[in-house]
């Protein structure tokens, strides 16, 4: 009741605020400066201080008036606060029951005025046990704070603040840097893989820089983007890709690279995962899939003289698994056994080994951090070069970071800077989740005859020669990203903290791919002509956030309130360029030629345009939308290095404006209440639904603090939460309004271009809104023996409604699909268990063990439609699909022919006829996911093991379906040794329809990481402060019955190749082999 009143009031206030838009306002001025100007141009800085000054002046008056009260009988107390190893800068000293306090300086000294002689001083510092000391008239009081190991790990970062595990009302998991996964880590999500119950993190393949799917508490969206919101140092990152998808230049499209690769895992201090709605509702329309908050390291822990840290790692990797393909002898005898005669060219080529490799990768970090009392600084530099186990795949990463903070004005003002500048160079082999019938590089390598010569100029006729393809293909992407976060927080009074944050995130990416004329048997006319693509994406995102925090301790109760405003702007622009008909076959020169041709053509064009193209015969044409639509023909252009060029551009900006509030109220340190609300306005939605209100509430009861609870439990806390969150990920730009632009267009296989015309690209839908998830959750945290044995148990129910999906329009309609809110529910219910036990706690010997397990059940309800999903690729599999979205079934439910066996002719037979597809009661979603970790240390040695696994899911082995059948042998392709046994059973001309024959269990247990490290005992001796060596093995073994290379797979085609726009899971089609990696690293501080 109270909540709803509060909500109504909040909504009224916020909507009235929103409607009262005045221009030009300060805010818009701030963000309307020209794109070309750099961030550090004057306006931002000036405005920042202007804004701070404003806040400061008003609040000073207020603060001063508060101080007038307790001036009587005052004295001054000074002293030093230390920890066992020395003075402690930045420790808090507070007169108990008042707001009078200070922090210690660089040498741990403090001076506190106006201290009543009978007062008690409270000394505290994060990670140390608090001490209370009665003044008793003394003027000098020095204390030494003891480390509190429990407290140290208890701080968890939540949205717009932090709390401790003991005080958290929601379900928040926090993983700190000591607990991160070790070894070769190409993006931050991998750091927490298997660490947290209910968080499933699966990289689709073993390719460096490939995208990663993260599911927190199940899959709630039927759309292709189910990843959580990432917040880096307070800046929510855009959900879109920062790199371009790879165009199909003859071997299929490919997905964008992982947008988080730009973060150096070594810079990360902590990753918090917000799982329930009470934690994520503060992020409103983006919180439904959970929130991952990444906090980077600061110089806070650095020594006063500064610490240098160098870590370096060298890794060797090899494919962890490979297919057992037939060699020449086996091939010849198997073809014969199937009743055929093989064309024997006399060779014995192992194609698989020719396209894969063993690699050496390196990663080096330099860090400098210093804490000088009133501030700290940390600067890092990272260079890493990871080579993929498939030829021509690599990721090079160069990242610099500068984090600094400075306290000013009696430490009341804290200025913080977090910035990172990165360059990621990706090299991708010709692999595609949507390769045609001849397959991509890996498909070609698996099916290539061993009798072919290992010669890139050998043309096998209708198939791809893997060596020819890899030699004549190149795809290089460069992504530069700059992320800056400037914030200022000011203690207006001891209770009130105001904070302003400016975020700026710019990422520029260009991918240049070429397939030259020497290639054969590829598509899109690339053979004999050469085809190339240049895909550029520029992201420019800005953030302004203002929050005001009020904290008050009333003795028996505590109040913590937050209100805030946030504005975020996301601009994505770029161009997609195709080239055709190259004069050179040199891959670098092809890229240069395309760039030069583009430069030439663009120099001939005056003014702006949406697209242009050139082809011999047609000449140069330009299509403009503004100021008026026009087509211009500029005639022939002589001496272009290409026969055809086509360029199309895009430029979209979306905005998000939000108001939010949170109240925490704690009574007697037993009863904790949290309520949050966020009003989110998004330019992605139509006028009828631009703003959404997302409320949540939570209650926690610290039962162990009750007298009746006794001493059995060191922790016993019950948590209950409820909330509504939204999701707008994957919804493109301007999907609620009718928009017109020129059709995308492309260069035809003969090099000609059909000049595109203007068409309606989006249909008006003013009712379009975010997708909404209501989550009910309950949890119990418990601990015994001072939390030596601890754990938590959580249950939840998530109901997702108004599912956003690009569904088939009721025809006639301008587009075949348009975004609608589906009238259906996706229900996720589940539980999570996490247990930790410190088996041994000793001076020299420690041993801990942890396990987490999550169960999730997914079901679609109340859905009228039946939508095919899960495209299957391969020769004879065009239009084939393996999954269907339908009510009563989980998402990613397999919809297949039930395979019975083979008939007398060796053709497969299926239950109910040759084309009877039906639900087979199996889904790609696992029932159980979990992780097991254990670590032990003895003196300077420590070792750890991490296992992760899942159970209950099924994988469609599309690779086997497409390549490893009797029919494949009949077509003269190579197969695996498994096929040998099918001679006489399966016919050599048998078809291979999609069926349960290729559906396999996906259960697995993987030894993800094993590491051993040694701390060289050099403390206080010589130049070095510390020296540590570690040896890590990753992906050491997998227990699974799955016959493919790896059970943790998902093909990721380009977005346009997804059947009905639905995402794909649990389908393995020539996935990039996952590597087994051994790393040796050294870490030095001095």
């Amino acid at each position: 009741m109270r909540i709803s009143v509060f909500l109504t009031v909040f909504k009224t206030i916020s909507i009235s605020l929103l409607k009262r838009c005045s221009y030009p306002c300060l805010f818009n001025y701030l963000y309307k400066f020209d794109n070309q100007e750099t961030l550090l141009e004057k306006p931002i800085i000036q405005l920042k201080f202007k804004l701070m000054k404003h806040v400061i002046l008003k609040s000073m008056l207020f603060f001063a008036s508060l101080l007038l009260a307790g001036m009587a009988q005052a004295q001054t107390v000074s002293g030093t606060v230390s920890e066992p190893n020395g003075p402690l800068p930045g420790a808090n000293v507070l007169v108990k029951g008042t707001t009078n306090g200070t922090t210690t300086d660089f040498d741990g000294n403090y001076t506190l005025n106006n201290v009543p002689s009978d007062a008690t001083l409270v000394f505290s510092y994060v990670g140390f046990s608090q001490q209370e000391v009665a003044v008793n008239g003394r003027s000098t009081i020095s204390v030494t704070l003891e480390e509190d190991a429990a407290a140290l790990e208890e701080v968890v970062v939540i949205g717009y603040g932090s709390t401790t595990v003991k005080d958290a009302t929601g379900s928040v998991a926090s993983v700190t840097s000591e607990d991160f996964q070790k070894g070769v880590i190409s993006s931050p999500e991998q750091l927490i893989q298997g660490k947290t119950a209910g968080v499933q993190i699966a990289s689709g393949s073993g390719e460096p820089g490939s995208g990663i799917a993260i599911r927190i508490r199940g899959t709630s969206s039927v759309r292709s983007n189910n990843n959580p919101l990432f917040v880096v140092d307070g800046v929510p990152l855009p959900s879109g890709d920062t790199s371009a998808e790879g165009s199909d230049i003859g071997v299929g499209s490919s997905a964008a690279r992982n947008p988080l690769s730009f973060l150096n895992p070594n810079d990360i201090e902590n990753i918090s995962i917000l799982k329930d709605a009470s934690s994520t509702a503060i992020y409103g329309s983006r919180g439904a899939n959970g929130v991952v908050i990444i906090t980077t390291k600061s110089g806070r822990g650095g020594a006063s003289g500064g610490t240098f840290e160098v870590s370096s790692e060298v890794s060797v990797a090899n494919p962890a698994n490979e297919y057992d393909l037939l060699n020449r002898q086996q091939f010849l005898s198997t073809v014969a056994a199937f009743g055929g005669t093989a064309r024997d060219l006399g060779n014995d080529t192992d194609w698989q080994s020719l396209v894969t490799r063993n690699t050496i990768s390196t990663n080096t970090n330099f860090a400098y951090s210093q804490n000088y009392g009133s501030g700290n600084v940390r600067a890092t530099f990272n260079y890493g070069n990871q080579e993929g186990v498939v030829n021509k795949s690599s990721q090079e990463r160069i990242v610099g970071r500068l984090n600094a903070s400075q306290r000013l004005f009696d430490d009341k003002l804290l200025l913080t800077l977090q910035s990172t500048l990165s360059r990621v160079n990706d090299e991708a082999p010709p692999l595609s989740g949507s390769a045609g019938s001849t397959g991509d590089l890996l498909g070609a390598a698996y099916s290539a005859k061993p009798t072919w010569p290992a010669d890139p100029t050998f043309n096998p006729g209708d198939r791809i020669n893997p060596l020819n393809l890899i030699q004549n293909f190149q795809s290089l992407a460069q992504t530069d990203r700059f992320l800056l976060n400037l914030s200022g927080s000011y203690d207006i009074t001891d209770n009130i903290l105001a904070k302003a944050t400016f975020g700026y995130d710019v990422a520029n990416s260009a991918r240049n791919a070429s397939l030259n004329a020497n290639s054969f048997n590829v598509s899109r006319g690339a053979a004999g002509n050469g085809r190339g693509a240049l895909n550029e994406v520029d992201n420019d995102n800005r953030l302004l956030e203002l929050t005001l925090n009020y904290k008050k301790d009333f003795g028996n109760s505590k109040f913590d309130g937050l209100i805030g405003f946030s504005y975020q702007q996301f601009q994505a622009s770029g161009r997609n360029i195709e080239g055709f008909g190259y004069q050179t076959t040199d891959l670098d020169l092809m890229a240069d030629d395309l760039n030069n041709a583009v430069g030439r053509l663009e120099s001939l064009i005056n003014g702006g345009y949406q697209q242009y193209g050139y082809s011999a015969g047609t000449g140069l044409f330009v299509n403009r939308l503004f100021p008026e639509p026009s087509n211009e023909s500029l005639g022939e252009v002589s001496n272009l290095p290409l026969r055809s060029v086509f360029a199309n551009t895009f430029d979209n900006t979306d905005e998000l404006q939000s108001y939010f509030a949170r109240v925490n109220y704690t009574i007697a340190d037993k009863y904790l209440f949290t309520a949050t609300v966020r009003a989110d306005g998004s330019s992605k939605f139509g006028g009828n639904n631009q703003y959404g209100i997302f409320p949540s509430a939570a209650f926690a009861w610290k039962i162990n603090n009750e007298a009746f609870a006794g001493d059995t439990f060191s922790t016993l806390k019950l948590r209950l939460s409820y909330g509504i969150t939204g999701n707008q990920d994957g919804l493109g730009y301007g999907q609620f309004v009718r928009r017109q632009r020129y059709s995308d267009g492309s260069i035809n296989d003969d090099g000609a271009i059909n000049i595109p015309g203007i068409t309606t690209v989006a249909f008006a839908n003013p009712d379009l809104k975010w997708e909404e998830t209501t989550q009910y959750a309950a949890g119990l945290d418990f601990g015994f023996d001072n939390d030596r044995f601890s754990g938590s148990f959580d249950v939840y129910r998530k109901e997702t409604r108004d599912l956003l999906l690009n569904i088939e329009a009721a025809q006639p309609s301008p587009q075949p699909f348009f975004f609608q809110n589906l009238d259906a529910v996706v229900l996720n219910t589940g539980f999570e268990v996490a247990l930790n036990y410190d088996i041994l706690q000793g001076e020299d010997f420690n041993w801990t063990f942890g396990v987490n397990l999550a169960y999730n059940k997914n079901e679609i309800q109340d859905f009228d439609g039946r939508i095919a999903a899960g495209t299957i690729r391969g020769a004879g599999l065009t239009g084939a699909f393996a999954q269907r979205l339908q009510t009563g079934q989980p998402i990613y439910s397999f919809y297949l022919r039930e395979f019975i066996g083979f008939d007398a002719n060796g053709n497969p037979t299926f239950e109910g006829g040759v084309d009877n597809q039906k639900f087979v009661g199996k889904s790609a979603l696992p029932d159980f996911t979990g992780g097991i970790s254990t670590s032990a240390s003895y003196k300077n040695w420590s070792a750890s093991l991490y296992f992760n696994g899942q159970a209950g899911n099924y994988i469609y082995n599309n690779t086997a379906n497409a390549f490893f059948t009797g029919g494949a042998i009949g077509s003269g392709n190579n197969v695996t040794t498994d096929v040998i046994d099918l001679a006489g059973v399966e016919g050599r001309f048998a078809e291979a329809s999609v069926s349960t024959r290729f559906l396999e269990k996906g259960d697995f247990l993987r030894l993800q990481t094993a590491s051993l490290s040694y701390n060289v005992p050099i403390q206080g001796v010589g130049f070095f402060k510390s020296m540590r060596f570690n040896l890590t093995g990753q992906n050491l073994f997998v227990l699974t019955s799955y016959s493919g290379l790896d059970p943790e797979v998902s093909v990721v085609p380009g977005g346009g190749d997804l059947l009905n726009g639905l995402p794909i899971a649990g389908i393995d089609y020539t996935s990039f082999p996952r590597p087994r990696i051994y790393s040796l690293g050294v870490n030095l501080t001095f």
Binding site: F27, A875, N907
Partner: protein
């Protein structure tokens, strides 16, 4: 006191903040697309450039009709002209091809769904152009294109949904019955006619809508009127209109090609028969039938080894029943298979028409299949699945040989596997429509004369001595095979439900209409499923 101390700074600070920040209206701006700002209740704002949208619609229709799947497959693979047998693992394609051939499709069939979406989308785009106040010439072209697409919706599915341009996504489109759709198409064509240009054979003009193209489509409408009205009776007045429409086409200069050979009509050069063509790729028509080892310099990967014809269809033609080499007594339209005496670099060893028996490479050598055996296409196809690479006669009308040198610096200017010149309406079809109309009116002798006039223009094609429904239908088959009209003809002659090889269902008149796709039924409750589905 305490409450006040909480509220006061909060309220004060809230005021400060709200004073500092104003707000954004959250409107997207016209940066890369033209935005219709009417985001409240749906109203139609005219297209920014109807001429440009019209040209885009031509591009799109060309693309929609060029593929071997969807519209083409529904028109041809459902008939006795074509089947796509599963060869080893190839062409299984989730059963879509065999379901078409065996008439066992259902409302979830991929091509039935895609054709529905594509054709109706084109109708809406044409409506947008018509309602944007462009020039009368543009309206006329758009109306022709709308009629052409609606013709196939009506022909395939019976019912035709229609959405006015000012009806937003919340409106369930109304549904025209087949007779209403017939009237709609006829009205569009009638209204378009005065503002369309009239032309004789002229490649620069027949690439767009003309009076003659509209008259051709009107002739198709009148000829099939009995099907669309479900009367089953050919109305004499309709037949007169067929004759009048074809006579108008003839009057503007189109004629049976007398100079060029039959297969040259499909080359991108001027001929007297092409009434309407689009610059869409002919590659699928060439390569979907040829074997992997039959290739061209600009398509070294060769064909896709799929589409074949039935033995009984091949047997409709004059000539040796088992081979089709030079001198086998075949009529011109059955084409030719080159052998070691006449395969050369220009014809690439790739024949015309019906490819049966041993195939040869451009150097005259015998081609092999992928197992090393002879590439010799068999006449019989024993089964829909489990076939070898060589089973089934192949048939092509377009050929990679291209007599027009490319304007670019292509190194092989006479080979154009991917050229874009797809013939949609051809005079011989119009001519046979007129003959059929006369036949339907009882003027059998005149009709026979016309048929024989056409046959005399094709080499080695002797005159027929009599004409009945069956021989008229067969003549259309021999003249117009794989030109997208076979299903339409079979339905009109009431033969679509007849049995033929490897077809499971026969005699069920419900298959004369495809089902409304299940996705369409779900998205528009005004639609009613056709009987039998």
């Amino acid at each position: 006191m305490k409450i006040r101390t909480i509220i006061k700074p909060f309220a004060l600070s809230a005021l400060i903040i709200s004073a500092l920040i104003s707000c954004t209206d959250l409107e997207i701006e016209e940066t890369d697309s033209i935005i219709s700002k009417d985001t409240g209740d749906f109203t139609f704002s005219p297209l920014a450039d109807p001429a440009s949208s019209l040209s885009d619609l031509y591009n799109k229709i060309g693309g929609d009709f060029q593929g071997q799947d969807n519209i083409y497959a529904l028109n041809e693979v459902t008939t006795d002209e074509l089947l796509v047998p599963t060869r080893g693992t190839d062409w299984g394609d989730n059963g879509v091809w065999r379901q078409l051939h065996t008439h066992t499709w259902n409302s979830a069939h991929l091509f039935i769904k895609n054709a529905w979406n594509t054709l109706n989308q084109n109708i809406f785009r044409a409506s947008e152009i018509i309602e944007s106040n462009p020039s009368p010439a543009i309206i006329a072209e758009a109306k022709f294109l709308r009629a052409y697409n609606m013709f196939f919706v009506m022909d395939f599915y019976g019912s035709v949904p229609f959405r006015e341009v000012d009806e937003g996504p919340k409106v369930n489109p109304r549904v025209l019955t087949r007779p209403e759709a017939y009237a709609f198409v006829l009205q569009d064509l009638t209204e378009a006619l005065p503002d369309l240009p009239s032309t004789g054979p002229d490649l620069t003009k027949t690439v767009k809508a003309t009076k003659e193209a509209a008259q051709f489509l009107m002739a198709k409408l009148y000829l099939n009127a009995s099907v669309y009205s479900s009367s089953g009776e050919f109305d004499s007045a309709d037949m007169d209109k067929v004759i009048a429409a074809v006579d108008a086409i003839t009057a503007s200069g189109f004629a049976i090609e007398s100079e060029k050979s039959y297969f040259e009509i499909f080359e991108p050069t001027e001929d007297t028969e092409t009434i309407f063509f689009l610059r869409s790729e002919v590659a699928p028509r060439i390569w979907n039938t040829l074997h992997y080892n039959q290739n061209a310099p600009d398509n070294t990967g060769g064909g896709w080894n799929g589409f074949s014809t039935l033995a009984e269809f091949y047997d409709k033609f004059e000539g040796d029943p088992n081979t089709n080499y030079e001198g086998d007594g075949q009529e011109e339209r059955r084409g030719i298979v080159w052998d070691n005496t006449n395969a050369n670099d220009l014809n690439l060893g790739i024949g015309y028409g019906f490819l049966i028996g041993q195939q040869y490479d451009s150097d005259g050598s015998m081609l092999k299949n992928r197992q090393g055996g002879p590439l010799s296409f068999t006449k019989e196809i024993p089964s829909l699945v489990g076939n070898t690479e060589v089973q089934g006669i192949r048939l092509i009308k377009y050929h990679p040989y291209d007599p027009i040198p490319d304007t670019g610096d292509d190194t092989s200017p006479f080979i154009e596997s991917f050229r874009r010149h797809q013939v949609f309406f051809r005079y011989a079809d119009a001519y046979l429509m007129k003959a059929e109309a006369m036949f339907r009116k009882g003027q059998t002798a005149e009709a026979l004369t016309m048929v024989n006039t056409l046959r005399s223009s094709r080499d080695n094609t002797p005159a027929l001595t009599s004409l009945d429904e069956s021989s008229l239908l067969d003549e259309r088959a021999r003249e117009l095979f794989i030109e997208t009209w076979r299903r339409n003809d079979l339905v009109r002659f009431n033969q679509f439900t007849s049995p033929w090889a490897l077809k499971e269902v026969s005699g069920d008149p419900n298959v004369n209409l495809f089902p409304i796709p299940e996705t369409a039924l779900l998205s528009n409750p005004n639609l009613v499923q056709n009987p039998g589905y």
